[in-house]
């Protein structure tokens, strides 16, 4: 672990402590890891999440990428998120790979058959980023063969836009994400997609509070991949994944997610195992306001 990774540790410790000592509220989270639906964070709440991705690498070292996510509901129509990310490549090193700042805005006031959400993200990362939070352009598994020591020298500033379309019909959620992304150092626009379908295991809530009741679980399937760039749009030299996923929303306020992704072609990693843990803190905005002398 190098010095920049060590410097991150107090911050991560603080975030985890915050999740334990503050009042929590139970979210009703979808099982998606990559796909976004149209549900935003409740206003004033902060969700602290940690995600891990273990990936197999053809002709190279397997890796474990991880990120912490702070998701804040600024209003009922605007959610903002900060990501801090890193990775360990086995037999190489563990490094901090960058951060990203994401915003999701819901333009329509009420629920419709298809609900659009506009997404804007800025990323500042290095070339060793492996979290695979999205797949875009001609991203292929061979990109990860560059050793960390060399890959981290490349600095990437990128903006990413998404059009999120999501519908909930008879308990099922169907989400489609279309993404254009642009590396700000004179690279062409790149494109990608993510599709997801999910539903809770039971529609009715039980009369007793329970951890293992089926309504606390949601299962789904995601598919995501790249669509080339402005000069060569299409499926050629792109990677694609199919990933069954499950979420467990515990009454104690924790949400656990598990997803196993399978590469659909030779350009994809054969297997991605992802898991995440999240906890939602209620009234975070009020706490911050109070801290700076505001009224509760």
């Amino acid at each position: 672990m190098n010095s920049s990774s060590v410097r991150c540790l107090p911050g991560i410790f603080f975030l985890v402590s915050l999740a334990f000592v503050t009042p929590v509220v139970r979210g009703q989270e979808s099982p998606y890891v990559v796909t976004y639906d149209h549900y935003l964070e409740e206003p004033g709440n902060l969700e602290i999440e940690y995600f891990s991705t273990f990936g197999t690498q053809r002709a190279g070292n397997d890796f474990h990428a991880f990120w912490a996510e702070l998701e804040y509901g600024a209003t009922a129509w605007w959610t903002t998120e900060l990501y801090l990310e890193g990775q360990t490549t086995f037999n190489e090193s563990t490094i901090f790979t960058g951060y990203r700042w994401e915003n999701r805005i819901r333009p329509l006031k009420s629920e419709h058959f298809i609900n659009p959400v506009l997404y804007f993200e800025y990323e500042s990362k290095n070339g060793a980023d492996k979290i695979l939070k999205e797949v875009e352009g001609h991203d292929v598994q061979a990109d990860f063969l560059t050793p960390n020591a060399d890959a981290r020298k490349e600095h990437i500033h990128e903006i990413e836009l998404k059009l999120i379309l999501s519908s909930t019909v008879k308990g099922w959620n169907f989400s489609e994400n279309i993404l254009p992304a642009k590396n700000l150092s004179n690279n062409p626009w790149e494109f990608g997609y993510a599709l997801g379908a999910s539903r809770p295991l039971a529609m009715k809530a039980s009369a007793t509070r329970c951890s293992f009741c089926p309504q606390n679980f949601a299962a789904g399937l995601e598919m995501y991949g790249g669509l080339g760039d402005r000069h060569s749009f299409g499926l050629r030299n792109t990677s694609h994944y199919l990933a069954p996923a499950v979420a467990w929303n515990l009454p104690s306020g924790w949400t656990l997610r598990l997803s196993s992704g399978f590469g659909l072609n030779d350009n994809s990693h054969r297997f991605l195992l992802r898991w995440g843990v999240a906890r939602e803190i209620s009234g975070f905005g009020e706490m911050v306001t109070h801290m700076f002398g505001g009224r509760r």
């Binding site: 509220v25 139970r26 009703q28 979808s30 639906d37 149209h38 549900y39 935003l40 409740e42 206003p43 004033g44 709440n45 804040y72 509901g73 600024a74 209003t75 009922a76 129509w77 605007w78 903002t80 900060l82 951060y99 700042w101 819901r106 006031k109 009420s110 629920e111 800025y122 500042s124 600095h155 500033h157 909930t168 008879k170 308990g171 959620n173 809770p200 529609m203 009715k204 809530a205 039980s206 009369a207 007793t208 509070r209 309504q215 009454p251 209620s282 009234g283 975070f284 905005g285 009020e286 911050v288 306001t289 505001g294 009224r295 509760r296």
Partner: protein, 151 residues
């Protein structure tokens, strides 16, 4: 390195602005209690939605199930006794208690996004009806809460 620090500082600044902005929006200038304007959206429910029948009306388990859901998702803003708080209005008010079950269901489904009430269509339809059943079972405000809130 300097560039990264500047970008991180800008990001932190924007996050603080978003907290402040969000806080401003979720702390309205008027008090929720006793202000009938906050219930105006119930009247906006279309006739078709208003006429919907609550399938859990006679289900004795639905109140308990709805109470669990309320504690998990709603009490944070509407208060543990549903008497309302600075963030959200009382659900024991006569505007809510006299509303058609379909109108309450419609509000749960669509939210009142501009006033800070999120969309709850992520809860399956059955669970939203269980919540409606619980809200309807609440009755008028508890005497303690009226005493507490009166000047």
């Amino acid at each position: 390195m300097k560039e990264s620090i500047a970008a991180l500082a800008a990001t932190a600044g924007l996050l603080i602005v978003s907290v402040a902005f969000g806080q401003q929006e979720t702390s309205p200038a008027y008090k929720y209690q006793g202000d009938p304007r906050v219930y105006a959206d119930l009247a906006k429910a279309p006739e078709k939605a208003r006429a919907k029948h609550n399938p859990f009306e006679t289900d004795t388990q639905a109140v308990a199930a709805g109470q669990n859901l309320f504690e998990q998702h709603c009490a944070e803003c509407h208060g543990n006794a549903a008497d309302g708080s600075k963030k959200a209005p009382s659900l024991r008010a006569e505007e809510v208690q006299n509303a058609a079950p379909g109108a309450i269901f419609w509000i749960l489904t669509n939210g009142v996004v501009r006033r800070g009430m999120p969309v709850w269509s992520k809860l399956p339809e059955a669970q939203r009806w269980q919540l409606v059943t619980f809200i309807e079972s609440l009755g008028p405000p508890s005497p303690n809460s009226i005493e507490k809130k009166s000047p």
